[in-house]
């Protein structure tokens, strides 16, 4: 099966191609790119079974550490009120509140974070709120992302579409474009309204759940904003709500390493995902999502086993990026060039035996 290359769907990609309705999705399906079979590195079943095993202990430890750190930063921010130290203290609080929520949302959404299912479900709801993603809608959008990773007009989660919008990308480091759009969708869903794009990937049987969750969020935001009015203070919003904006930079910083600048419309995760070596602090904050090729190829493997999975398949993959800086040395010039040249992308070189 040759999954290494598929022809571009259009001679010169356009931003409209990314629309799930009226975009390039139908052309992708006609080209056999939708719901297709993807390349898998051979990993023996026995080894894979061992790697897929679930465990509560590591996720409980990390979750307690994470919420402990948020609480500590929140207290620090409280005691720094009235001084200039409040700015870095709240930045730290917001970064911890929102940044790691992305990877917790992700891992809990896959159901791989904990062995005990209800723990994953609780963390999923909390992290979704913190990172400002409607839980059920984004569960289904992420399902599509895994079915049709970086397939133009099919994948709703392409973070750096081409031609690249540098200003928009930078604005989203503080959720300036994505945040208000998401809040508007929350209000629409709370009123029982769904966009055609949402209807294209969220089954109708799930709509009541979407509406219920949106109404709970509206109630929470109403209480927070009401507290601000009563107290004549921005503080409640600075603690709950606004961190999803001013703390968004960290997950964007990590998230761009996943796919930015890599080719669309290929059926091989070794070509359209990056695995990046990161330091232990980053790997805690990002819950090992830096092993992104491995995660996409075997999404059943929990975060704590991804380094071992990497060892099992690395000889069948393109070279790993040795650091976050090394990844950005590729991402930044590629994205800048993609502003004018949307056909340009990084080409990953696979080992000779499988290339």
């Amino acid at each position: 099966m040759d999954t290494s290359f598929s022809p571009p769907l259009r001679a010169r990609p356009q931003r409209d191609d990314y629309k799930l309705i009226g975009g390039a999705g139908e052309r992708a399906a006609a080209a056999g790119l939708a719901g297709a079979e993807w390349y898998k590195c051979p990993v023996p079943r026995a080894a894979l079974k061992a790697l897929m095993k679930r465990d509560d202990a590591q996720a409980i430890r990390d979750t307690l550490l994470w919420y402990g750190a948020i609480l500590a930063a929140g207290v620090l921010a409280w005691f720094s009120l009235g001084t200039w130290w409040a700015i870095p203290a709240f930045l730290l609080y917001g970064t911890l509140y929102c940044g790691p929520a992305d990877s917790r949302w992700h891992e809990a959404g896959h159901g791989t974070a904990f062995k005990t299912r209800w723990m994953s479900d609780v963390l999923y709801q909390l992290a979704s709120f913190q990172v400002l993603r409607r839980p059920t809608v984004w569960r289904w959008s992420h399902t599509r992302h895994h079915t049709d990773t970086l397939v133009t007009g099919r994948d709703p989660e392409i973070a750096a579409p081409v031609p690249v919008d540098i200003a928009g990308t930078l604005m989203n480091f503080f959720a300036i474009k994505s945040g208000p759009r998401e809040l508007w969708r929350v209000l629409q869903n709370a009123a029982g309204r769904f966009s055609d794009e949402e209807k294209s990937f969220v089954p109708e049987s799930e709509w009541p759940k979407v509406i219920r969750e949106a109404r709970v969020w509206v109630a929470i935001y109403a209480v927070v904003i009401g507290s601000c009015v009563v107290l004549h203070s921005w503080l409640p919003l600075l603690y709950i709500g606004l961190p999803s904006f001013y703390g968004a930079w960290l997950y964007n910083f990590f998230g761009l390493t996943q796919h930015a600048g890599l080719p669309e419309n290929v059926l091989d995760h070794r070509l359209n995902c990056r695995t990046v070596k990161m330091n232990p602090l980053f790997r805690f904050l990002y819950w090992n999502m830096n092993y992104h090729v491995e995660h996409h190829m075997y999404p059943m493997v929990p975060f704590h086993a991804l380094p071992q999975l990497h060892e099992a398949m690395k000889t069948d993959c393109a070279p790993v990026y040795p650091s976050t800086i090394a990844a950005y040395r590729e991402i930044i010039p590629t994205m800048l060039r993609q502003v004018k040249d949307p056909q340009h992308h990084v080409v990953r070189v696979l080992p000779a035996k499988t290339a």
């Binding site: 159901g111 791989t112 075997y298």
Partner: protein, 102 residues
């Protein structure tokens, strides 16, 4: 009328594991759990992925592609993205061999 079809020796499937079994143009997933055997349709009802590549945990099979989960005893879908139940089939062990009724 249903008939019993020989699948494989019991020992071919590890405890708490699953194996793919193809027969007459159909694909099944055959499970061994607590020394009982179970059989379901072989493809996930969500996106037709082979469940035999998934993980069996306490009578639950988790799909390898999107982590949809089903109870292998009755095929019940246990949460998104698995929303449609899985068909199940009678299975038994006789003389150390697994049989499936279709």
């Amino acid at each position: 009328m249903s008939q019993w079809i020989e699948v494989c020796p019991l020992d071919d499937i590890e405890e708490e594991d699953v194996m793919r079994f193809d027969h007459a143009g159909r694909t099944f997933a055959v499970y061994r759990m607590d020394d009982s055997v179970y059989a379901t349709d072989g493809l996930c009802t969500h996106e037709k992925v082979h469940l035999a590549d998934g993980l069996v945990m306490d009578h639950v099979i988790e799909c390898p592609k999107h982590n949809g989960r089903f109870d292998i005893r009755n095929g019940k879908a246990l949460g998104a993205p698995a929303c449609v139940n899985l068909a199940t089939y009678p299975a038994k062990v006789e003389g150390g061999v697994i049989y499936l009724s279709v």
